[in-house]
Each structure stands twice: as structure tokens, then as C-alpha cells.
């Protein structure tokens, strides 16, 4: 499950309107949708919030990835339904699932469409110090490398008779040790070599660093920002004055 789920957060280069938005706009999008998801627990309202997110997924050509990430969470959803229904109500469990779907969708849209280096630039524009922002984007860069390394280690250990999926839960956890130790050692070595090469390329040699790429707020960013904020305010109003809405929106499952 886990790897498939991670796929939903890995940047892919595409030319769509969503990709071309400023990262800060997309961060706002993810944040507002997440807050709205937490604010409400009525199934229909959550469902409409969820529906209203769909155009973004379509516009960003992310449908397949998105389906994958949702599918990756089926197990979690099942657990949620079972436990929530046992300890509270079926309706609660459905709204919980909708909430999680909204939050996961909105953040996966962010990570799928924001280039890690642009992520760094937006962190910088939010006054995060360069060193921290840079190490953030560096860790994104090395995720695939370390994934390949992990696969190599698995293959190497397998060729020595190692079996990962054997025995019960505890012995499976123990089975991870021959994987983790070489992986950690390799990663530490790698980190040292990366640091060495950063220094050899003048990293941190001046405070007046320049940037080849820049991010900028364009008209469509402003437009979307305004719409999002209006949407958010509308959400707050509805929350404060639920009488404004028709009754059926508050419908629940009888169980």
C-alpha cells in the first residue's frame, strides 16, 4: 500500500494551468480546503466541497494519480468505517472518509504540481531561511535515488537468501533490519559526499545569492486567490448561520 500511496505526492512535469499556478496559490488552495473539511461534518456539505475540488484535479490532468492515491487508502477507509460505526455512527465514519479524501486530494494536488525547487522558492518568499528551504528541496531530490538504493539492497539481500515477507508481524518487522542498516549507512555516506560537493560548488559563499528561476503571482493567481477567499468566507458564514441552508443538507444516515 505505502509505495502506491506515496506516488500521489511525487511531482510530475506537465503543462497545465494548475501546474503554471504559483506554488503559494496552491498552498492556499490546499489549506483552505483542509480547513473547510475540518470545519464541517455534514455528509452532503463535505460531499459538495469534495465535488468542488474535482475541476482542479481534471484541469491538472491528475485523475489517474488521484484514483491511485485514493485506492491506496481503501484499507484505511475500511478500518474507519468499522471502528467509527462500532464506537459512534455510520454517518460519522462517512464524513471522516470524505474529510480525509478532501485533505489528501488537496495536498496531493500541491505536491504533484509544485516543482520541488519552486517549493523552495515559495518557502523563501515566506521568509524561511535559505539553508532550511534548500535542505527541504534537497530531500525531495534524493527520494528516488534512495528508493533505487533500497531496491538494490533488497535485491542483494534476496540473492543471499533473505526473505522479507515471511512469518508473523513481529518477525516481518525484524526482517526489516537487514534492509534498514545498510540503507542508513549508505545514506549517511551519501550525505557526506553531497555536503562535500555542495561546498565545492560555492554553497553558502555569499549572502547575496541570486536565483535563476523565480516564482511570480500572475493574474490567474490573484483571481483564484480571490475566489478561494470568497469560498472560505462563504463557508464560515454557513458554519455560523446554518439556518441559511436548506434542511436536506444536514441529512444523516439513520444509523
Amino acid at each position: 500500500m505505502s509505495f502506491e500511496f506515496m506516488e500521489a505526492f511525487k511531482f510530475i512535469q506537465k503543462k497545465t494551468i494548475i501546474h503554471s499556478l504559483d506554488p503559494r496559490t496552491k498552498l492556499l488552495l490546499a489549506t483552505i480546503y483542509s480547513i473547510l473539511a475540518i470545519m464541517f461534518e455534514e455528509i452532503f456539505i463535505l460531499f459538495f466541497i469534495f465535488l468542488s475540488f474535482f475541476p482542479f484535479i481534471i484541469a491538472g490532468q491528475l485523475f489517474k494519480k488521484w484514483i491511485k492515491s485514493i485506492r491506496g487508502m481503501t484499507f484505511l477507509f475500511l478500518l474507519l468505517i468499522i471502528f467509527n460505526t462500532l464506537f459512534s455512527t455510520f454517518s460519522k465514519s462517512i464524513s471522516m472518509i470524505l474529510r480525509i479524501m478532501i485533505m489528501v486530494s488537496s495536498f496531493s494536488l500541491f505536491f504533484l504540481t509544485v516543482h520541488p525547487d519552486d517549493l523552495m522558492l515559495s518557502l523563501l518568499s515566506l521568509k524561511v531561511p535559505y539553508n532550511i528551504a534548500f535542505s527541504f528541496s534537497l530531500s525531495f531530490r534524493f527520494v528516488p535515488t534512495i528508493a533505487i538504493e533500497a531496491q538494490n539492497i533488497i535485491d542483494a539481500q534476496k540473492s543471499r537468501g533473505y526473505e522479507m515477507e515471511q512469518g508473523g508481524l513481529i518477525s516481518q518487522a525484524k526482517n526489516l533490519i537487514p534492509l534498514l542498516i545498510p540503507l542508513i549507512v549508505c545514506s549517511m555516506k551519501r550525505a557526506f559526499h553531497i555536503a562535500e560537493s555542495l561546498d565545492s560548488r560555492a554553497f553558502g559563499s555569499t549572502k547575496n545569492r541570486t536565483y535563476y528561476y523565480s516564482i511570480s503571482f500572475t493574474k490567474k493567481d490573484w483571481l483564484l486567490t480571490v475566489i478561494l477567499i470568497a469560498f472560505f468566507i462563504f463557508g464560515i458564514i454557513v458554519k455560523l448561520f446554518p439556518d441559511l441552508l436548506p434542511n436536506w443538507l444536514f441529512w444523516r444516515f439513520p444509523v
Partner: protein, 280 residues
């Protein structure tokens, strides 16, 4: 002018038993294509680490003597500052590529030293052209082959425009044809005076020797020979050092041992051709 100067420099890694560099006296002058050779473990990589301050700033250990880069003592000036004078392309390209695409990779060095956008852009274009990687421009480092990574690593150092560039086995992941291409390219950069000195560590002597002005031969941490290429190649020490001696040299050396040939050993195909013609 002396670009790099070693004054009786010795170094021992922290965990090691023995000194890995011993009593190094060395002057690196400008305008040279220098080949640094020696067998595996002889200390080539360690020697170049001492040229941009990685030894002793990154690799700690016991030091004797000093190294100066354009008059700056490498003990006191940080590597990140020295990197403007000395560019080092590492043996393993994988760990030196840190950006998500090739273009950003090349931009990284110039960004770090605060180059204005217009100049940065023209440097990037130039370096991409020199190393012939236009088609990789938007690719991520993990999407391209080892040889392509090496080209990108070279481009990313060129973009810093250091006076001295050191290549630690720049062609180890390349096929012979691309290796020749890359090394000739380095020579061309030097001749066009884009860089004033190039130091190359390379095991394929048959390809580099024809390009080299100077050869440094290192063995067990000592520089046992250093001088003009022909001078070093013709010396006993070179022939007995265990390095990968090119065919043209070894053939004529055998002839020499059998007293069939007397004279200077040829270091390139061109010289071999001339030599054979002159014998006829």
C-alpha cells in the same frame, strides 16, 4: 604564475594508520593540461582534495606543511570560497547532482556566488553547448545515464568559471569514444583560454597522454615524477609504476630493451606514425 603551491605537505586521515600524502612539494602553473596518474590507492583523489581545501576542512586528520591556492592558505579559507578558483568534478557523479533538473543543476554554482541573471543565463547556455547536453536540459539527474551525469557534472563546474578545474576520472562511466570526446573537449576549453589550468586524473593513459602538457606520477602518497609529458614517460619510474601504459609506448619500450630502437618513446598515435615513417 603559481596557481597552486604545496609546501612540504603531508596528510594522514583521522582513522588511518599511515600518511596518505607524504612531503608533497608541487607547483601547479597556469596554461597547462596536467595528467595526474598512479595506481589505485596511490593517493590521487586525496591529492586533489587538498587542492580545494576539502582536506583539511572536510576530511580531518594530521597535517604537516601548507597548501596555497592563488596565495590563499587552504587551512584558513573555506572550500566554498576556494571553489571560485578551483573547480572539482568528483569521481562519482551521482552524489554531486543536487537539483531536480539539468538546467537548475548548472545554475546552482553561479547562483551561489551571486551572478546576475543575464550572465547566469548566458553561462548556462554556453556550458550546455560545450558539453553537448541540450537534449537533457529539463531532465532529472536520476533519469539520465551515468555518462550523461558526468557531462552534467562537468557543465555545472564549468559554469563557475574557476581558473583551475580538476577532474577525478571524468570518463570512468563513458565508452571509449565518448571518453575521447570529453577529454578533447576539456583540451579545447583550455586552448580557448576559458580556464587556465586543467588537472585530470585518468586511467586511460592512451587517450589523455596525447593531450597532456605535464604529467604528475604519484605512488604511495609521494610524487615520484613530475614534468613535461615526454620526460616523465621516458623515465624508469613511469615504466615501472604499474600504471596502464599505452600500447604505443610499451611496444617501443620493448624494442628499446632489445636494442632495436633508440630514442624518445612516442606518446600519441601521431608521434608513433612520424616515428615509423622516420625509421623507414
Amino acid at each position: 604564475m603559481n596557481l597552486i603551491k604545496f609546501e612540504d605537505f603531508s596528510f594522514k586521515y583521522d582513522q588511518a594508520q599511515d600518511f596518505v600524502l607524504k612531503d608533497i612539494k608541487l607547483n601547479i602553473e597556469s596554461g597547462k593540461f596536467i595528467l595526474l596518474c598512479g595506481i589505485t590507492g596511490s593517493g590521487k583523489t586525496s591529492l586533489v582534495r587538498a587542492m580545494n581545501g576539502l582536506i583539511p576542512q572536510f576530511y580531518h586528520g594530521e597535517i604537516k606543511g601548507d597548501v596555497f591556492v592563488k596565495g590563499k592558505n587552504t587551512k584558513n579559507v573555506p572550500t566554498s570560497t576556494l571553489s571560485r578558483d578551483v573547480g572539482l568534478v568528483f569521481q562519482n557523479p551521482e552524489n554531486q547532482l543536487i537539483a531536480m533538473n539539468v538546467e537548475r543543476e548548472i545554475a546552482f554554482g553561479p547562483e551561489n556566488i551571486g551572478i546576475p541573471w543575464d550572465e547566469m543565463d548566458s553561462r548556462i547556455k554556453e556550458c550546455i553547448k560545450i558539453t553537448d547536453i541540450e537534449h537533457l536540459r529539463k531532465k532529472a539527474p536520476f533519469e539520465i545515464s551515468g555518462g550523461e551525469q558526468q557531462r552534467v557534472a562537468i557543465a555545472s563546474i564549468l559554469a563557475l568559471q574557476p581558473e583551475i578545474i580538476i577532474f577525478d576520472e571524468p570518463t570512468s562511466l563513458l565508452d571509449p569514444k565518448s571518453a575521447i570526446q570529453i577529454l578533447n573537449l576539456l583540451k579545447k576549453i583550455l586552448l580557448e583560454k576559458k580556464i587556465s589550468t586543467i588537472i585530470v586524473i585518468e586511467h586511460r593513459l592512451d587517450i589523455v597522454l596525447p593531450l597532456a602538457d605535464e604529467v604528475i606520477l604519484i605512488d604511495k602518497g609521494r610524487i615520484i615524477e613530475h614534468g613535461e609529458a615526454h620526460y616523465v614517460i621516458n623515465g624508469e619510474k613511469f615504466l615501472n609504476s604499474g600504471v596502464n601504459i599505452p600500447k604505443c609506448v610499451s611496444v617501443f619500450q620493448k624494442l628499446m630493451n632489445q636494442n632495436i630502437f633508440i630514442g624518445k618513446l612516442p606518446i600519441s598515435i601521431e608521434e608513433t606514425k612520424n616515428l615509423i615513417n622516420s625509421i623507414k
